[in-house]
Amino acid sequence: MSQTTAFIVDTLVHATPLMITGLAVAIAFRAGIWNIGADGQFIAGATAAAWIGVSAPATIGWLALPLALVAGAIAGGIWAAIAAWLRSRFAVLEVISTIMLNFIATYGASYLVRGPLQEPTHVFPQTSSIVAGAHMPILISDTRLHWGFILGLLLSVLTWYAMKYSATGFRIRASGMNPFAARNAGLINVPRVTSGAFIVSGAIAGIAGGVEVCGVTFALYENISPGYGYTAIAVALLAGLNPLGVIGTGILFGALETAAGTMQRNAGIPATTASVIEAVVILGVIGIAQFRSRCSVSAT
């Protein structure tokens, strides 16, 4: 395999979780929900998928894969639902609650891989490998590229269509852009719509966690997410919160992370540089947007 092919494959493998978590963030932000918790939802999803993957009996065969992914979605959705409930019931800022839930998920996963879910030899902080039936099929043979990437594409297109053409999608957009008008002019139940979008967002981030376990790691480790949920914010914002755009920006950041990894090995440039670049991208996007809107205000 040539170096270029290897780079492309690595990029797409890295892009998969970023694309899906970016999609999750885009949905939430569209609904006016500042879900900074895709990381925790990702970990929750990965944990649930790994649990199913490890404990599924071999007799159910390939059914283990969809079961694991659905479990990931449910776990991610529940993790987001906690923050959604705190928000709607107690008006707790979701920014704070989702960040807290990220820490709790990290420590929770850490506890599980050193406790109840630890591999039988009790040496390594990780679960046993998931059953073969829960493995994501490989997309291109002899590479690590798996069908999770295609699943990410499908989810993006589906979300784009739903946001644009369904009544629910319209309600989410209206509620996010102006909850007052959505309520007064549209008679939309804004808390219900935004909570729903929040939970769906968490479920999608949970799927990303499931895909990572079933397609890449085949077990649950400590620190299974190197901060995907935060990179996802850059992915979503750079895409202009457009579900189709997330495909492109997800691949872009996948390439960035691949390159950062290579550079760290070869040139000693720390991988943390990638998060600096993400931050600069976010600031650049919002800076340009604000600058433009100021120009257009003074020009109309």
Binding site: A167, G169, F170, R173, A174, N178, A181, A185, G186
Partner: protein, 485 residues
């Protein structure tokens, strides 16, 4: 000392492509009350905000006592003896009256000293106030007094009053305008922004008329006639005046018909548990316009929203048709999504209950028809709502709500901030809806609008709804809670 306290010469100001002021001028003599008269959108407030340093002019000069000045901020204008009482209160609701009046000072804050100074000022000027009350606990009239005391605390030589009577009952308004004259008796100057011709003639020494950002008339009040001022304000465009001031001549109420909206003993508590509406009962029939009059904060906000089905009642029985059109006061925020297209904004009506997919093609057609039928001037249905002028935005909202609901319409200050043509168009549409059988409820802080439009008037006072005669005298008394003998 110079005879002219404040002079604004050839002031020009644009906001992007809109020219708000086109070489507008004003010369306020010392010791006089000077009225600035003009329709909504004529540029009165913009001109005075420039004098107060809240806006910077593109061209023109400001002279205070003959000296050229430029004010980078309100603090600079205050330092030069200019103070302004704003139309929309600029008070910090969570703070006390004393804190609000002290705001803008320097150095150490001595609460007790600030309090006694305020009390002294209140005694001197006759504006009674509780210095320790939180502003949010005060009724609108008292808040107005805080605004005025705040302006007077800077010991201004020029006091600008922007539509100071807009939220007051006729009696309070009369009292305040008389005071404006007292305030200037010791050598100060008061500038009164108003769109009410009679107030200008009655209370001012001099009058300046603005139309479309330019000064079109200026002179002594005792030399002015109503006719001359009206034609100056409208520029010979007399036609819409009928719908502005003329009575709702087509008051051909259909014979008493069925009740469309009904409240029986309805109470509403707000989020903090305060009972805003108290056992209100009201029936609105098909083919009638019920006018609602009230001083700000008496529960009319809740009454309208209960009638529109936008909030629920805490207790009592509410009977409404399946859909009620609602034109909220803050249309920028509550009726439109500025960054969505006109088509999407039309789709918003009824979006809460829609199932399945959005038929964007059909909604687009409907939007185009609506733009034509309601004379909304827009390039097409795909432009953002934010690109429309205030008048066109409101015509879109009115059209959308009437077309969506048909049988019932609730409108809150529907013509506030609109120019004369747009106001006339909006009122005509509301009357048309009534004539075609809709039950209409309209609240306006402008009594003229209620008296001219309503078939029947109710007044909300301290959360209680009561029927009232359709004339200024009885509405004014009822708004103050004075029960007829």
């Amino acid at each position: 000392m110079h005879d002219v306290a404040l002079e604004l010469a050839s002031i020009t100001k644009s906001f992007g492509r809109t020219t708000a002021l086109q070489s507008a001028s004003l010369s306020a003599r010392r010791g006089t009350v000077h009225a600035i008269l003009g329709e909504n959108g004529a540029g009165k407030t913009s001109l005075m905000r420039i004098a107060f340093g809240m806006l910077q002019p593109d061209a023109g000069t400001i002279r205070v006592n003959g000296d050229i000045k430029s004010f980078a901020s309100p603090s600079a204008a205050i330092a030069n003896g200019i103070a302004m009482v704003h139309q929309h209160f600029t008070l910090v609701r969570a703070m006390t009256v004393t804190e609000n009046v002290a705001l803008g000072g320097r150095g150490l804050l001595h609460p007790r000293k600030a309090r006694s100074e305020l009390l002294a000022l209140a005694r001197r000027t006759g504006f009674a106030i509780d210095p320790d009350a939180r502003v949010e606990e005060l009724p609108a009239g008292a808040q107005q007094r805080v605004e005025i005391l705040k302006a007077l605390s800077h010991k201004p030589r020029v006091l600008i009053l922007d539509e100071p009577t807009a939220i007051l009952t006729p009696i309070e308004a009369h009292d305040l305008l008389n005071r404006a004259r007292e305030l200037v008796n010791d050598g100060g100057t008061a500038i009164l922004i108003t769109h009410k011709l009679r107030d200008a003639l009655k209370f001012a020494d001099d009058i300046t008329v603005l139309r479309r950002g330019a000064t079109v008339w200026t002179g002594r009040a005792d030399e002015a006639t109503e006719d001359a001022l009206v034609s100056a304000m409208l520029g010979g465009e007399r036609a819409p005046l009928e719908s502005l001031e003329g009575n709702n001549s087509r008051r051909k109420r259909a014979s008493v018909s069925e009740v469309v909206m009904a409240l029986r003993n309805v109470s509403v508590r707000d989020a903090s548990g305060v009972e805003r509406l108290k056992a209100a009962s009201l029936e609105v029939c098909a083919g009638e316009i019920v006018g609602v009059a009230a001083v700000e904060g008496n529960g009319q906000h809740e009454l309208l929203r209960v009638l529109a089905g936008r909030i629920g009642a805490t207790s009592g029985v509410v009977t409404l048709p399946p859909s009620v059109g609602f034109i909220p006061e803050d249309r920028q925020r509550d009726a439109l999504i500025q960054d969505l297209s006109l088509r999407d904004n039309v789709a918003l009506a009824g979006a809460g209950a829609r199932r399945g997919m959005m038929d964007w093609v059909a909604i687009g057609d409907r939007t185009r028809n609506l733009l034509g039928a309601y004379d909304v001037r827009a390039r097409d249905e795909n432009v953002h709502a934010s690109t429309l002028s205030g008048g066109n935005q409101q015509k879109l909202v009115v059209g959308r709500e009437i077309e969506w609901a048909h049988v019932a319409l609730v409108a809150e200050n529907p013509s506030r901030g609109l120019d004369i043509h747009a106001s006339a168009a909006v009122r005509a549409r509301i009357i048309e809806a009534r004539d075609s059988g809709a039950a209409v409820v309209i609240y306006s802080s402008d009594l003229d609008e209620i008296v001219s439009l309503a078939d029947r008037v109710v007044v909300v006072y301290a959360g209680k709804v009561s029927e009232c005669g359709n004339d200024y005298e009885s509405i004014g008394r009822a708004m103050l809670g004075v029960t007829p003998p």
